[in-house]
Symmetry: C2
């Protein structure tokens, strides 16, 4: 079968090639791959900056934002041929840390987890793949192509679950939310904010393209004149930072209302030094009981929340998040940055 | 009666003077003041850098770390003459914000709270004071003089309650705790960490004086060779930052183990700019699911937790935290910094 592979650590090594068909282990599902979404982590791996091949292998099958249809399912697996499924990305180490042993592998303590398409396990960018039922999430058939958004939505569902768990340590009725960055993560975070009935503001740099309308069509407010303008109308109770841009991270920490919560989701590049009045920053965080936290990855529960959130969304709006569908053999086009791109999806069929 | 007063905003205006006796309102307690503890906030007010007199008044009675004995209590107040009591510091605005309306005045959203001895309400540094029973905390008579530590312990009890609430958003079994600063807040935070059975490390600058022994006698480990040495033996799961020193705040944010929690409690002075690799800091917070949060003040529940924690502590160790007791009339001595000081207490009787 055909698969998109890469040699981790080697820039420009991305290729579609023939690889062996998957051999499902006992009880595992055999799944026909329908699509994979491409995200910043895939681009980092393609650039040779991240990623690990499986032990003994030189190349890694890429792809962690999956969508597939079950071809074969063992009796008792809980799945049937024809089911629309998404595979979870992360797996605990066989000798799990305390968090992984309790199903909280998204909070792994020792870093010994593996991740399909990223770290030591082949990904989902192939025409078929095998999947343990414990790491498969069944989707409503109505979701269709939008199911490829389950993985990025799981990241956002986790972020919101964390915001609520942290906020509920005391009285918490947030009103205003600022999302920085109108990429797929930012837009999905905004959608989940709107589903909670909140006053959602989204900050991005671009004035044109689909983002302003996507934000407006959620019933949220789009801002493109910088951070200060975005908070001029009121300090946000919650900020979801989805750019990883260092100055925005620091702006967000200082800009929240009292009892503010900043959720950082953007994986930034080290080496960007900025001058900070750390005394003022600390004083403001302390005197306002503010919280800044990071959120990455998701566990099985968050995938379920993500599937629910997508099912509750507007299918037309969700379909517009996929700005391009690229056939597997033309993979290079999917890794190009083009004006107006939100999510680019590789079509595996 | 005699009281320690200050003209907020005017350095050097601290004085003991005659003020009117308190006139308890309906249902209020009349309390004989036994002692007040002096903390950094009192010194900031004495230096003219903080504090607000009551509306219409020029001067503020100082003192928020209280200890008193009930002289008169109305029937049905729930208190009896002779009861050892501490007064809560903060009061919600008469038109409360949502948090204050739910008893979470420590998380006040609009800043319209008042605080005895700090903001618009006279404090407890007088020979007697009145107190609404809703803001009075009865102590076990066994606690004696140590009761003056209830207010600083309430700050620490809140910090720990927050750490646990935030940590319990997922699997949380912390082992190693680092407390930066061995002042009263740091030492009490360390005590509460030891009461939880944790491996507690305390970092301070001094090599001599009572702090190293106070830490050792808790069964904790004292460090005075800098931050890096204090974390060389293992990354802490929890950091309680109790200095407000800008470099330590930033060190703490980067040094925690995965799923680390940094609780900032030190109120630092703005104007200290440092260069930060904000990209690396953000990346580390995100990829490790770390949390940094500020905690200030305490509500009624935390005062109760504080009284319990002190009752469970070693009375001899707790007594050693008060390094000096200064008579009210010699107040100036209580505001001097002396080698070996931990907590300095003004004796009101």
């Amino acid at each position: 079968m055909r698969a998109l592979t890469v040699q981790p650590g080697v820039a420009g090594s991305l290729a579609v090639e023939d690889v062996e068909d998957p051999r499902p282990g006992p009880g595992e599902l055999l799944v026909d791959g329908l699509a994979v979404g491409i995200c910043g982590t895939d681009k980092e791996i393609a650039a040779g900056e991240y990623g690990w091949a499986p032990p003994g292998a030189q190349r890694l099958v890429l792809g962690h934002e999956s969508l597939g249809r079950v071809r074969e399912a063992a009796a008792g697996s809980g799945f049937d041929p024809g089911d629309l499924v998404v595979g979870v990305v992360r797996r605990p180490d066989p000798v799990p840390c305390g968090a992984c042993a309790h199903g909280a592998f998204d909070m792994c303590r020792n870093g010994e987890y593996t991740e399909r398409g990223i770290k030591q396990l082949h990904g989902y960018a192939s025409q078929s793949w095998s999947l343990a039922p414990d790491y498969a999430v069944r989707l409503s058939p109505d979701l269709g192509d939008v199911g490829v958004l389950v993985e990025p939505t799981s990241v956002v569902a986790k972020a919101w679950a964390e915001i609520e768990a942290i906020g509920n340590r005391s009285w918490f009725e947030p009103e205003r939310v600022l999302v920085t960055g109108a990429g797929p993560i930012g837009l999905l975070a905004a959608m989940l904010g709107r589903q909670r009935g909140l006053d959602v503001h989204v900050l991005d740099q671009v004035r044109n393209g689909p983002k302003p309308d996507l934000v407006a069509d959620l019933g949220a407010t789009y801002h493109c004149e910088g951070f200060d303008a975005a908070v001029a109308g009121g300090r946000p109770d919650v900020v979801i930072e989805a750019t990883g841009a260092a100055p925005l991270v620091l702006d967000a920490m200082e800009a929240t209302a009292a009892y503010g919560i900043v959720c950082l989701t953007g994986v930034s590049t080290p080496g960007r030094s900025v001058s900070v009045d750390a005394g003022a920053l600390n004083r403001s965080i302390v005197l306002e009981n503010d919280v800044v936290f990071g959120s990455v990855n998701a566990n099985l529960r968050h995938y379920g929340l993500a599937a629910e959130a997508l099912a509750a969304g507007d299918p037309g709006w969700l379909a517009r998040l996929t700005s391009r569908r690229v056939p597997l053999e033309s993979f290079a086009e999917a890794f190009e940055e083009r004006d107006g791109d939100v999510k680019v999806v590789l079509d595996l069929q």
